[in-house]
């Protein structure tokens, strides 16, 4: 099963800064293992961020994003206590959803 994400959301003025850490190999499908066999591609393809019940980010991702991805977003009009829900789905259909509250 996929590892939990770490989500941090904090108000700076009237903008919530959302930082997301995801645990994922983000294999490109172009690397070879020690035996010379190609390691199959395995990477997150889409992600969404919801704040206070509304979708704010709809993202698509390719193999050029680093292993254990890190993203940062800014959302206007959020407030302390709003629920932040982040989800991702990878090319093998693995998925993960985690949440945090705006602080």
């Amino acid at each position: 099963m996929a590892d939990p994400m770490k989500i941090r959301a904090q108000m700076k003025g009237d903008v919530a800064e959302v930082r997301i850490l995801m645990g994922h190999a983000m294999e490109t499908g172009q690397r070879k293992d020690a035996a010379g066999k190609t390691i199959p591609a395995h990477f997150i393809q889409s992600m969404t961020v919801e704040v206070g019940g509304k979708k704010v980010i709809d993202g698509q991702i390719g193999t050029s994003v680093s292993r254990n991805p890190v993203f940062g977003f800014k959302v206007k009009g959020a407030k302390v206590g709003d629920k932040v829900v982040v989800s991702w789905v990878d090319n093998k259909g693995d998925k993960r959803t985690d949440e945090a509250a705006v602080a």
């Binding site: 590892d3 939990p4 994400m5 770490k6 941090r8 930082r19 850490l21 645990g23 190999a25 490109t28 172009q30 690397r31 193999t63 050029s64 680093s66 292993r67 254990n68 890190v70 940062g72």
Partner: protein, 289 residues
């Protein structure tokens, strides 16, 4: 993508001292003028450039993912004895107490009659309290692309609970002092095919191997650079690695045989290095090149 941008034909080779001097013999040679200044500015520009992005990299460090896992493993009953570390493991601050424990190790533990760094101590607890087999832990002690050992998560968790605290290795304890002095002598010991010691690379200020700055572990500030950031998330390969790993990899590059995992030898060296950093502030698990 060619993931081996690592270029890491890494080897510490150290070419030395007298090379740029005028050849001693033949003495008749006209004295060579000092070569134009090395691209010191270039290097500094690169270093400055890295530092500009450093804060941002540290602010969102994948190491936190491993801390989260380590916390869960610390609190969960595990092993043949079905005991949690939280209810059995004393890191020197009382059973289960992790706050500030990392910066106060290595220290002497009477129950083990040994000076132990944090990783060695947690391994000891896993073996003695939870019933895990030492040989099994030591067989695969460090992370690779597909695997992160529990001990790495645990050390990262414990280290995270010493964030922004001062390093305070109890050097007044005679047993710790002895470990420190032995570690100091080990750091100076040159041997192997290339005549390297730890100090070849880490014994003076302002040196660099390729683009990598080499801290002088004999000074407080330099030692802190060697301590800071371990355990660390390594960008190359994207794996979480510990200070024990770092010590082993130094010896690999030193062309030495391999130090045994969680051994006295590594504890001595870590006591020397971390002890030299006493009083400096530890910022927690880091992110490394």
């Amino acid at each position: 993508m060619k993931q081996n941008f690592i270029g890491a034909l890494c080897a510490l080779a150290v070419m030395g001292g007298a090379f740029a001097q005028t050849p001693k013999k033949p003495a008749a040679k006209p004295a060579a003028k000092t070569a134009p200044a090395p691209a010191a500015e270039e290097k500094d520009a690169a270093t400055l450039e890295f530092e500009k992005f450093r804060a941002e990299m540290e602010e969102s460090n994948p190491a936190e993912l491993f801390e989260m896992k380590g916390e869960e493993q610390w609190k969960t009953k595990r092993g043949p004895k079905n005991v949690s570390l939280a209810e059995s493991c004393d890191l020197g601050q009382g059973v289960g107490k992790v706050e500030g424990a990392y910066v106060k190790m290595p220290r002497y533990f009477a129950d083990a009659d040994a000076v132990m760094d944090a990783e060695r101590r947690i391994v000891w607890c896993m073996v003695e309290k939870q019933g895990f087999k030492f040989d099994e832990i030591a067989a695969k002690p460090f992370a690779n692309a597909n695997f992160t050992p529990d001990i790495t998560n645990l050390v990262t968790y414990v280290a995270g609970h010493s964030r922004n605290m001062k390093i305070a290795v109890p050097l007044k304890d005679p047993k710790v002092r002895e470990a420190y002095e032995t570690g100091k002598a080990m750091a100076a010991y040159r041997a192997g095919p290339y005549d390297f010691s730890c100090n070849t690379c880490h014994g003076s200020d302002g040196k660099r191997i390729r683009m990598q700055n080499l801290p002088n572990l004999g000074t407080a500030a330099g030692a802190m650079k060697g301590v800071q950031g371990w355990p660390g998330y390594r960008m190359t390969g994207g794996v979480m690695l510990t200070h024990q790993w770092r010590m082993g990899d130094c010896f690999r590059q030193q062309r030495f045989p391999q130090p045994k995992y969680a051994s006295d030898a590594i504890a001595y060296l870590l006591t020397y290095m971390i002890g030299n950093a006493n009083g400096q502030v530890y910022k927690g698990p880091g992110i490394k090149r």
